[in-house]
């Protein structure tokens, strides 16, 4: 059972290469979210409300369509009155920190230390979805996204296992937003059109989830 009235600390982590076309989508999203958060709150705290004791039942597989994932997320919309329904939900206050990370594995795990929740935004290349499709995953059912693995590091699931084994305080809840990328090879500060078109929806979705 999770604690009901803890002060929530959420790490919103954008990961990727800011000058490598669609690989920058996570970095761009976290920057946009940080600006919106500051504008909306004017402070570092936000009132939130979330389901307790049950994981969000969304995005457990990459075969789900974006709309299916979106529908599922809506069922557990942390802003909605439904989510304040007594018995399953509890309100709490919390803070969010916005972090830019360039590579995955141990490095990424270290950035998550001390947070209750982590939201990771990265590009993914499955080749199975239309570019711009937003996929959501809940740890431990997470895929290898573009930057959560590296030749000079271990992958994220292994890094989290190491962290927990060593007694590092890691988030009980890790949500990954992975955006199907079209171009992660050519240097550019711009997203490709399909990913650009999906960008506002991606940011809005995370904003709703963070309730600000």
């Amino acid at each position: 059972m999770e604690n009901n009235n803890l002060v929530s600390k959420t790490a919103v982590i954008g990961i990727g290469n800011s000058i490598l076309s669609d690989d920058s989508v996570g970095i761009k999203a976290v920057k946009a979210l940080e600006s919106m958060y500051k504008a909306a709150r004017g402070s570092q705290t936000y009132e939130g409300c979330r389901k307790v004791g049950v994981r969000y039942d969304v995005g457990t597989g990459i075969n789900k369509s974006n709309q299916e994932d979106r529908d599922n997320l809506d069922n557990h919309d942390i802003r909605s009155n439904k989510s304040r329904y007594i018995g399953g939900y509890a309100s709490r206050t919390g803070t969010a920190e916005f972090i830019e990370v360039s590579s995955g594995g141990i490095n990424l795990m270290e950035y998550m230390a001390g947070f209750n929740r982590a939201v990771i935004i990265d590009a993914i290349v499955t080749g199975k979805h239309k570019a711009g499709t937003v996929l959501k995953f809940i740890y431990p059912d997470i895929p290898f996204t573009k930057n959560t693995v590296s030749t000079h590091d271990i992958d994220l699931p292994a890094a989290l296992e190491v962290g927990r084994y060593l007694g590092i305080s890691l988030p009980s809840e890790i949500i990954i937003f992975a955006v199907e990328a079209k171009d992660t090879v050519n240097f550019s500060e711009k997203l490709t059109e399909d990913v650009e078109n999906a960008f506002v929806g991606l940011v809005e979705e995370i904003k709703l989830m963070l309730n600000f």
Partner: protein, 501 residues
């Protein structure tokens, strides 16, 4: 003829492929290491202000932004024709030592170490960083994380930002260091020295005292007699930040020593039709293919290469360990230098010696009175040329010599960029090592399945390849699939290992 393909099986479909071709007798004829490269960096930089390059180039790679930042700012010193004050050079170098400590620590404990500490034949489920921690102890695992953390703090303190540092400017550094900051760095450096010594002791206890592992290091599977490259100071001692680039031949004779601005006179890049990769080689020896020996221009540029080209190490404890490694695996020449070590797996040992050197040198720099000076920058008056300016700078990235080459117009607007990143130096030897490992396990059409993937992995893991700046990244645990095909391209057999196995 059979064809064997090894692909990572993650999202990077079709990327990072190793093809092994067998001849009619079923023996290995050739191996191809194929990784598509990132494209368009030069075009991306054209028209930008030269002084933006240190913060642009450190975004190329998520693994070693510090190395790109340093090579870039050194190139700018020359492009703007300005010599940084001593404090600026020492502050840069201080940060760079902290970076080396984190980088080498990660490689030894998370990537290279499991094969030795847990054992090359251990099941993959145990042959990983968790297996290492279980073997050496929980406290050591915590110390690995703490070592990374305290050195990341130093990098952030000096560099201004933790991820993409921004302290480097043409002619110096953006801030000086306070006494309190230097005291913290000294404290951290001392802890680094203890940690490096402990790591070498682990290597000694677990690897060197185990005859099986020693035999593995000495095994002919992992020997290539190539040229070696590395940066040395005026006394031919290894230096990561500055000096001349020294190349020795397979016998240990100095072949050439040059300033990085002359790199194009000495290094050429071989283009092969089957890959985007360009293979750097010694221009004045010539390209003879993927072969070793004095007639082949193939060279290596790794921690072992850097120690091979050095006469000694400038810090006492690291030098002690340098002597120990060369006395174990090499012999002295008539001129007092050691013959180069060709046993590639000794690269892991050399990496730990470099870890100790970086730690000791970090303490030296923090104790150096000049480092504390407030004079950290000389502001340039413009670029070093009336119509066109050229700036070339290099550092030793953990994975090899990293060279940045910029050409700008008279206003400092970039016209041309060329980078030779650390890992690319080792593409040819990596290809050779993969071939050697494959040859050992595939004979007469018989493929020894057990161990093939790990032997091949071990062959190129020792180079600590970082493909994210030179190429598309590959998965950390290198999930692979091996396809064995007949002449018609029919798949006869598939060997597969997932990343999570």
């Amino acid at each position: 003829m059979k064809k064997i393909s090894i692909d990572p099986i993650t999202r990077l479909e079709g990327h990072g492929k190793i093809d092994i071709f067998l001849d009619d007798e079923g023996n290995v004829q050739n191996t191809y290491f194929i990784v598509p490269e990132l494209r368009g960096f030069e075009q991306f930089c054209k028209g930008r202000l030269a002084e933006d390059m240190p913060v642009l180039t450190n975004r190329i790679c998520g693994v070693c932004p510090e190395a790109h930042h340093m090579a870039s700012v050194k190139a700018l010193d020359r492009l703007f024709g300005v010599e940084p004050p001593p404090a600026a050079k020492k502050i840069r170098e201080l940060l760079y030592m902290a970076f080396y400590v984190t980088d080498h620590t990660t490689h030894f404990y998370a990537l290279g170490g499991p094969d030795f500490i847990v054992g090359p034949d251990a099941p993959p489920s145990e042959r990983n960083v968790l297996g290492v921690i279980r073997k050496v102890g929980l406290d050591i695992g915590k110390e690995v994380i703490e070592t990374r953390a305290r050195n990341h703090r130093v990098i952030e303190m000096i560099g201004g930002r933790g991820v993409h540092l921004s302290g480097g400017l043409p002619g110096g550094w953006s801030k000086s260091l306070s006494k309190e900051e230097l005291d913290e760095i000294k404290f951290n450096a001392k802890k680094n020295i203890d940690f490096a010594l402990f790591s070498l002791k682990i290597f000694d206890d677990i690897v060197l005292k185990n005859p099986v592992y020693k035999e593995l290091i000495l095994s002919d599977v992992y020997i290539h007699k190539t040229y070696y490259m590395g940066t040395v100071d005026e006394k031919n001692r290894v230096n990561f930040y500055d000096g001349k680039i020294r190349v020795i031949d397979p016998e240990g004779n100095e072949f050439v020593k040059y300033d990085s601005s002359d790199y194009a006179k000495h290094i050429a890049e071989r283009v092969e039709p089957w890959t985007y990769l360009k293979y750097p080689y010694l221009k004045n020896v010539g390209w003879k293919g993927f072969v070793d020996g004095p007639e082949s221009g193939v060279y290596s540029c790794t921690p072992l290469s850097r120690l091979n080209v050095s006469d000694r190490i400038a810090t006492p404890l690291a030098h002690e360990n340098f002597e120990k490694m060369f006395n174990t695996l090499s012999v002295k020449r008539d001129d007092g230098r050691y013959k180069p070590i060709h046993h590639r797996l000794a690269t892991h040992w050399a990496r730990l010696i470099e870890l100790l050197y970086a730690s000791e040198h970090m303490l030296e720099l923090a104790n150096d009175g000049e480092t504390a000076s407030d004079e950290v920058r000389i502001i340039p008056n413009g670029v070093n040329g009336s119509q066109e300016a050229v700036g070339i700078g290099s550092v030793e990235a953990p994975r090899g010599t990293l060279t940045h080459h910029y050409v700008s117009d008279e206003k400092g607007v970039i016209k041309k960029v060329n980078l030779i990143v650390g890992t690319t130096n080792n593409y040819a030897p990596m290809t050779m090592s993969i071939k050697r490992a494959a040859e050992k396990l595939i004979k007469g059409g018989e493929v020894v399945k057990e161990g093939l993937l790990n032997m091949i992995e071990m062959a190129f893991r020792l180079y600590d390849p970082c493909l994210s700046c030179s190429t598309h990244s590959l998965p950390g645990k290198m999930p692979m699939i091996v396809k064995i095909m007949n002449n018609n391209g029919d798949v006869l057999e598939t060997l597969k290992r997932n990343s999570w196995d």
